[in-house]
Every structure is written in structure tokens, then in C-alpha cells.
Symmetry: C2
Amino acid sequence: MTTLRLLLADDQALVRGALAALLQLEPDLDVVAEVARGDEVVVAVREHRPDVALLDVEMPGLDGITATAAVRAACPATRVLVVTTFGRPGYLRRAMEAGASGFVVKDTPARELADAVRRVAAGLRVVDPALAAESLAAGTSPLTERETQVLRAARDGGTAADLAAVLHLSEGTVRNHLSSAIGKTGARTRAEAVRLAEQNGWLLG
Amino acid sequence: MTTLRLLLADDQALVRGALAALLQLEPDLDVVAEVARGDEVVVAVREHRPDVALLDVEMPGLDGITATAAVRAACPATRVLVVTTFGRPGYLRRAMEAGASGFVVKDTPARELADAVRRVAAGLRVVDPALAAESLAAGTSPLTERETQVLRAARDGGTAADLAAVLHLSEGTVRNHLSSAIGKTGARTRAEAVRLAEQNGWLLG
DNA sequence: GGAGCCCCGTGACGTCTGTCATGGGCAGGT
DNA sequence: ACCTGCCCATGACAGACGTCACGGGGCTCC
């Protein structure tokens, strides 16, 4: 078996370096590139053409899901393994739709990561079964495009007038979208709707 | 120089194992214990008596700050280095007050961690200068005990009546505390007050 | 003893919020 | 052509929210 060349993307330098140290312990794995931002992933993939790219979801510049799609388009030979802190159902779904080969949460045992990488490199899919079930149960996002935008803008706690100004909408329209989102999420407050949508991974982009 | 014995506490197993791998690369460092929960820290410290304990702040069971105080009380020979994802001013302040010897955010370069551990073990203090300045500027929390509790309870987006039921208070009293907290944080909404207070690290406990 | 702060509660006021009805415009599908 | 769904907007209404004034009780510190 030849050695596998890896790319590592995580915004936290300490975690990134630690993961590199962990993977370098394996004789058949070699970390050839590290990046801290989502928009640096594609250029690094183009330059190094790694066998597997390990991508975090929460990154500045570009989120890991969108970066996954970009990697698949730029270099189909590179498999993507998404490594994230939050096991949100929507993240998993959208990662797989974007062409990821694996999805691992950051509280899986450390010794399993190398095997996950090898399996992904071999063309297999790696997904936590419990998380997969949860993803199926939660289903796809019921929120419309605008509702998602409004909820995203409502995260920092602004008033309806603020959201209207940011989104160039009428204040009444904002409240209508919010009301609809509240109904779909089963919440009773806009803040609760934001929380529930975020927990389901419906607020990406 | 003798080898330093370390304890590692982080709720995410992958990060914990990766940090262990990173630190084991140093010949003079030895990870002798790993725990995933805050309440397991003290028992592990009592059993292994490490030279340095690396503690995350966000942990189930017991937060890293409180765990720091417990470690200092149980084994004063063990120095504490807090390693956290969020560089919130209140975290730093309260960690140092609790007896921590160092405070490092997770996006510091990986190669600096080992040096930070050694410096802490030598009795020095390790603090990011920029973060220290920010902590001084932000000052201590202006929120009263009740205001903090109310803001904490308001995080999941419940109505004032919900908070009143949880905290066994009158609904009007809850709104009074919220109003006061909103004024002190400079916010215009309860949600914004929650966000600002959380960013400052005022919502621990 | 008073002064100060925090706690709890009440009542009232204006504003904001969440909901509904209703309208129009624009895309997609049978 | 029709229906359906999403978008935007308006107006109206009950309820929740944020603010203030005002009480009372407790505590500490001078």
C-alpha cells in the first residue's frame, strides 16, 4: 500500500496542528498541506492534489460544505472527509449531497480517525450510524430561502426593523417570514426558532 | 530536566487524543491521564498528581474554571493551563482568579503549546497579551447574580413567563431583571443582551 | 442609625412582536 | 390555461416586551 497524502483544514491552529501530529504517527499517512480558511482549501487542493481532504465545517471565508463541493469540482480524485464539532443532521445531509465521502464528529475516539481516512481513501463511505439515523429522522430543511436568511440575520438579536434594513425588506414582511419560520420549526419565539434551526443545521450558507 | 507529567481534559475525544499525540512528540513531556468531563478532573489529579493539567473551559459535568479551583485546592503542586476555543475576557479573568497559571486559546500555533506547558511548569504565567488587554478593558461582569441567571435561562429563547416558571419568580420581576441586564450590556433586546454577555464570558456557572 | 445595593413584587405605559386576512407578482409543473 | 408555491407588501389586532415609578424586605458598611 502506498502512502496517502492528506490535506487538513481547520480554523483553530492548535487543533489543526494536533490532528496533524496524530495522523503523522501513522506510517502510511502523510499530511502534505494545512489551511485555516475555507476559501484556501480549493487552491491548496489544486496545488497538492491530496488523496484525502479533512475539512472542518465551521471555518471563516467559506464553510466546509461549500468547500467540499468546490473540492469535488476541482479535483475529483480527492476524497473529502468532513470533521466537525457539531453532529447536526443538516450538516451531514448537505455534506453528503455536496460529495463528501465521510462525516466524523470530533468526539469520536482518536484511534478511529486514521481508519476513517483509510476507508475514505479506499472509496468507502464513513458515517456514524446514530447520526445517520438522526439525519433521516430530521429530514431536509422545511425553511424557504428567505426564511433561512431572516433567521440567520436574527441570530444577533436585532429588532424586526434592523432585519428589514439589512435585508432591504419591509418590516411587516420580515415578521411574516419570521412567523412562518416559527411555525415550521415548532417554536414559540423567534429566538427559539433560531436555536432549533441552528441545532438542525439549517442555517448554513 | 526531568520529564513533565501532564493531564489532558477536553470533552471532544478526537481533539483530546490529537493534543496527546502532539505533546507526546516532545521528549520531556508525558501525558499520564486523559478525561472527558469536568468532574473527572479532580479525581484524576488526585490519583496521578500531574505537574501540569490542561483544561478546556466548555465541558460537561463541571466547567473548566470551577475545575481549576478544585485542582488548586486538591493538589497545589499541580499547575493549571486553561486551553479554550473562545478567548472571552471573562473566561480569562475568572480562570486566573481561580488559580490558573496560564490561558491559551485554541488558535495559537501548535508548536507554542509545548513551550507554554514548560513555562507553566516552571512557575511562570502564560497569557496572550492581546487577550489580557481585552480582559482589562472589558472589566468584571456588571451583572448581578439574578440578572446572570435570567440571561442564562433566556438563552433557549423562552418567553418571560417560561423564565418566571423556571426561576420561581414573578413575570414582572423577570422583565425587570431583563431590563436591567439590557441596560448594563448596552443591548436593545434580550437576545442581544444574551449574545453580548456570552461573548464577554459573563454567563458561566 | 442611615446609606447603599440587591432582591422581589405591582401597576401602568408605549412599543414591538406574532398572527391572520388579503392582495399582487413571478416561477414551476399537470 | 390552471394550480401551486414562494416572494413581497399592507393593515389590523391581541399579546408579549421593555421601561418606568413605586413599594417592601434583606444585607453590608461606615
